[in-house]
Amino acid sequence: MSILIDKKTKLIVQGITGRDGSFHAEQMKKYGTNVVGGVTPGKGGTKMHGIPVFDSMQEAVAKTRANTSVIYVPPPFAVDAIYEAVDAGIKLVICITEGVPANDMMKVYEYVKANGARLIGPNSPGLISTDKSKVGIMPGNIVKKGSVGVVSRSGTLTYEAIWALTSAGIGQTTCLGIGGDQIIGTNFIDVLEMFEADSATKAVVMIGEIGGTDEEQAAQYVKKHMTKPVVGFIAGRMAPPGKRMGHAGAIISGGSGTAEDKIKALNAAGIPVAASPTEIPDLIKEKLAMKKAASAGKKKASARAKAGAKKKEEAKKKKAGKKKGATKKTTVKPKAKTQKKSTKKR
């Protein structure tokens, strides 16, 4: 399994005729994503890389039954594109655009929530569910199918971490960038919750950076609610306060949002933090081995307990059989099962 996107994803590309939109529409299609259409007002009826282009989201959704959209339009039009997608009934909107005004985002966030949709980004690199679907701008050749979920506030740093995992033979379920802005649609906790619920994900890598307190809150969540191991990385230990480090959200302000605080919070929640992205695979291996050992211990214990219980039960049954002759029933059931199996084979 995976989270958010898979083979059922039917994608519309908003801004498909632009430079970035057209390039990535092709890349996504090549990866195997079901790109069912694109939207550029005024370009309806044309095609882009064989993908039909529509004038509006309303029309695109009506004709393609799309359930997901990705936005590549320039910043002045990006917020409008989010409203348009949600208004057309799209339930998952991924906004790649960087440079969206934060105050506009606060308003659209409320709208998305009220309409039961989910927004990822803005300023997100998108996501990949390995071997199923890729939405956004992440390079498809660095991922490998496996059981680790990756969630990050960054783009290329995420690729670096994914590449470190893949190079070490550790594959991924879904890799997702939540975006480097101050106001974003989906936070770490939302994604951690999804990874915890996803049966194929066995461990999670969380890549944070300076600014805000999202990592601290995520650490609390992991401590309280997650059974799966989480490994962390925090960028910006060297960042001076008050300076925006590229991402709009990467800024230490009023003494809050430092890397030191975040690393402390993660460690306190039992999340080891890598000093270099290349350390991440080893931390994952350690954590998974620890968990295996722990659960093996538990399994042994529970197996022992079960065996004990079985013996007791058998003893009971024997007693009961002697009394009432109920052994017949227990022998009939397995027979029925084998019969079913054999019919399937034929």
Partner: protein, 386 residues
Amino acid sequence: MKIHEYQARGIFASAGIPVPRGKAVSTVADAVAAAEEYARPVMVKAQVHVGGRGKAGGVQYAENVEAARVWAQKILGMDIKGLKVNTVLVTEAADIVTEAYVGIVIDRASKAPVIMVSAAGGVDIEEVAAKTPEKICKLAVDPQMGLRAYQARDLAARLYRDINLVRQAADIIMKLYDVYWKVDASLVEINPLITTPDGKVVAIDAKINIDDNGLFRHKEIEAMRDLDAEDPSEHEAREGDLSFVSLSGNIGCMVNGAGLAMATMDLVKHYGGDPANFLDIGGSSNPQKVLTAMRIILRNPNVRAILINIFGGITRCDDVANGIVMAYEELRPDIPIVVRLTGTNEEEARKILKKVNLESAATLDDVVKMAIKLAESDAANVGRVA
């Protein structure tokens, strides 16, 4: 982006927030003229983008015109935390009865603008926030609903008991909220908001920070940018569509992507080096950008080695390699450069780099260690005079 107090108070005044009369001047003669015009005691206030200017001596009370002349002379040209004062604001001095604080800031956690008010305003508000946070009252405003009059009244009532003052303050809070949205601010602040002996509420200071992402629809505010107050390299970087922050170390860094750029700097520090800057060349890989980036890094005389780390995704490694070759030929750098290029078109990039005898390191950790070693070696320091 930050704007100066005199610019912010202009925006406040046009929104109907009461401010004292004042003029921004850059010569002593103009400061004296302003003081003469007001014909009463004035304040002379340094206009610099840094907090704590009052404590640094950049805000002074002048009883008369002569005192205004003396203070203007002292403050103009003064150095406040490394910034030179080129402009002073001369305002009528107000008689102060009480000092309160009112601010609106974007709050990431609640995804809403949060209004903060405190009856304990003035220069020590940061200390109040740190030591007695209960003295600051906060309200997260639903961005859809907007600030309602009753909410503004409730907040104002935390500042004053007198209904006359509450009404005035509530009106100011409403107007401040409008300013916040109108200019795409990330912060608007009045500290202090004062009351006068004749029962007036007046904003005698003004601060506005603008969300950089909102600037595209505010040409009038972009025009307020004070280029003198900026690091020239940071300015050139912005013009060239690069993100740059200068630091104090000796290893120049050039990376694609903000997160990876931060992580690379961190790793330099982790292995015992010291980065000279943060520089993100962004997602596109225009060779011209690489050239500009190199020029900015080389301008820093402290730089002893340059570290280039590129993870090609959208960015094509061959484009970056072409940029590096261009920079080599045009700028002829006299310090060692180490490169690590991986991802899209990596092989082509390696071939291009051979032209200038550069080899790409295998891993991120390797290239960082190489850069540190080179920056420390004497060879790097030969042709370089700081």
